[in-house]
Each structure stands twice: as C-alpha cells, then as structure tokens.
Subunit: 179 residues, 2 copies
Amino acid sequence: MEFNLELTIALLARTPAALNAFLRDLPDAWTLANEGEHTWSAFDIVGHLIHGERTDWIPRAKIILQFDEARAFTPFDRLAQQRGSHTKSLPQLLDEFAALREENLHELNALNLQPSDLERRGQHPSLGTVTLSQLLSAWTVHDLTHLHQISRVFAHQYRDAVGPWSAYLGVLRCAGHSS
Amino acid sequence: MEFNLELTIALLARTPAALNAFLRDLPDAWTLANEGEHTWSAFDIVGHLIHGERTDWIPRAKIILQFDEARAFTPFDRLAQQRGSHTKSLPQLLDEFAALREENLHELNALNLQPSDLERRGQHPSLGTVTLSQLLSAWTVHDLTHLHQISRVFAHQYRDAVGPWSAYLGVLRCAGHSS
C-alpha cells in the first residue's frame, strides 16, 4: 500500500483508545511483567510511546519542513521512559499518551501537508536521508510494533501454562523484536 | 507465571473492547488488507475469533468436565470464518464477538472451577492429553496471537512506505505466524 495521509491519521488516532481498552485496570501481574532482564513491560512501552509523542515524530516533521536536510534530527532516546514514568500509574500514562497523541494529530492537521511536502527530505542521525512520508509511515508502524510487542510480552507469561498448545500459538515463536 | 483463573478472565474480558477501539470504523484499506494470498485480514481474524467462541474454548472445557479423556474434542475448523462472516460488516462481527465472549465468561464463572478441576484432563484430537488449565491458558494466548497478527498485518501494508526505518521496526521482521 502506498503512503496515504488520511489512512495514516485514521490508524494513529485509534492507538490510544485501543491501549486504553486493553490495559486500563488490567492487573499488574500482566502490565508490569516483561520478557526477562532488560526487556519491557506494557507499562514501560506506554512510557516509551509518550516519549515518542514529545520528542520524535512531530518535532522531526517540523525539522524537515523548516530545515530540509540541513539539520539532522535529534537522536531519539529509546530508554527515556525509564527515567520519566516510574512515579506515575498506568492510568495516568494512558491519559497522557491519549492527550499528547490528540495534540500531535491536531498539529499534523494544522501543517496542511501537500503531496509535494510528503516528498521533502530530512537527515536521520543514523539512517541518513528519509522523506516526510517515510517519517509518518514509521510513526504508524512504530505504534504497531509496540502493540505487537505487548501481545508478545503477555503471551510470554503463559508460555509454560499453555502446555502442548504452544505448537499452535504463533505469538510464542515471534522473533520480531525491535533493535 | 503460573496459571491463574482471575488473571486469565481479566485478560479475556478485555479483548473485545480492545479490538473494538482499534478496528471499528477504521477504513477498509486497513481492515480488509492481508499479507498475501491465503493470509488473513483483521476482518477474517474477528470472524475466526467468533468461531472459537462458538465451538472451541467453552465447549471443550465442558467436554473435559463431563467426559474427562473418554471423549476427544471436536477438531476446530480454523477456516470456518470464510464461510460464516462474509455477509456481515466488521462492526456486526465486533458486536457478535463481544456478546459471545461475555456469555462465555459468564458460563466459565458459572462452572465455579476449583483448583482440582483445573488439573482435569481431556483429549485433544492432535495434541493428545491436555489439562483444563492449559485449555484456558491457550484461549488467552490465542487472543494474543491474533492481536499480534493484526498488528503485523497492518504493519505489512506500510512495509515499503517506511523506507529505511524498517531496520528499527521489529514487527516487520515477525516470523511468529500460527501454523
């Protein structure tokens, strides 16, 4: 499928509600569980998504529109949530993510992007030249990567409990971990 | 994590609302898209989950409680949704899934399962001897397998659109497909 701004926004707009319906008031035994040392829980992942809303996607879109390739993006701190969210509850993080996403989609809309804007180029600090449409696509697939990860982290908790059914349950064989 | 009935129900109860928040009114370009020939769309997956509610999890739990290993489970038809759901809309399927899941959790509750019941054994037509707690764990991880799949199917649509970001987006490297 080719990049489509309307379809991108339709998906980005639904992630906070989907996470809210899935995670709010779910027992801590699920939401604080991870896949082992140095891996993330659902709680960590929501913190990471919040940090992306604050520092990654829309700020980078604005750098492209203002500076093109003359100014590289600020590197994204993938571990920032370990500093910022440990004093908050998961419901607070879900509310914060929803509010930031709504603001960011409002800002995106206000940019009134034209087809020619979507081809404008920026400099990613490690990936090199990227376009605005690639950035917005990556924002979407980043949400999907973390929904995918939450499903896998939860499934991991019942890896032994399912017994012989593990042969049929694809999520238990997922190797799609982000680097 | 060991099997825990309360935690299992907490997760099973949230799946319909999570799917509803994510999928209802999302454009068909997302919900009807699949990963290629003989693969499933989100629409197909919700149909498959409905069929599981009708024929798989609770009916099998009742077979264990009534017959133990004397009667094998009826094999689960993984492709039934291709016959049953093609005349319905996605919102109809989401409503149907939510209603069936609610009924099934009501039935599960009415079984008033004791710790000793959870160890009771049944005969799976291909996996052999399984316990009731394994069946209920597999019900939960089956939900997670399909949430994981929906994220992956959507991400696949933007596989090219993300350009060089594909290196960072784990969902695009997922090989956790169910057999």
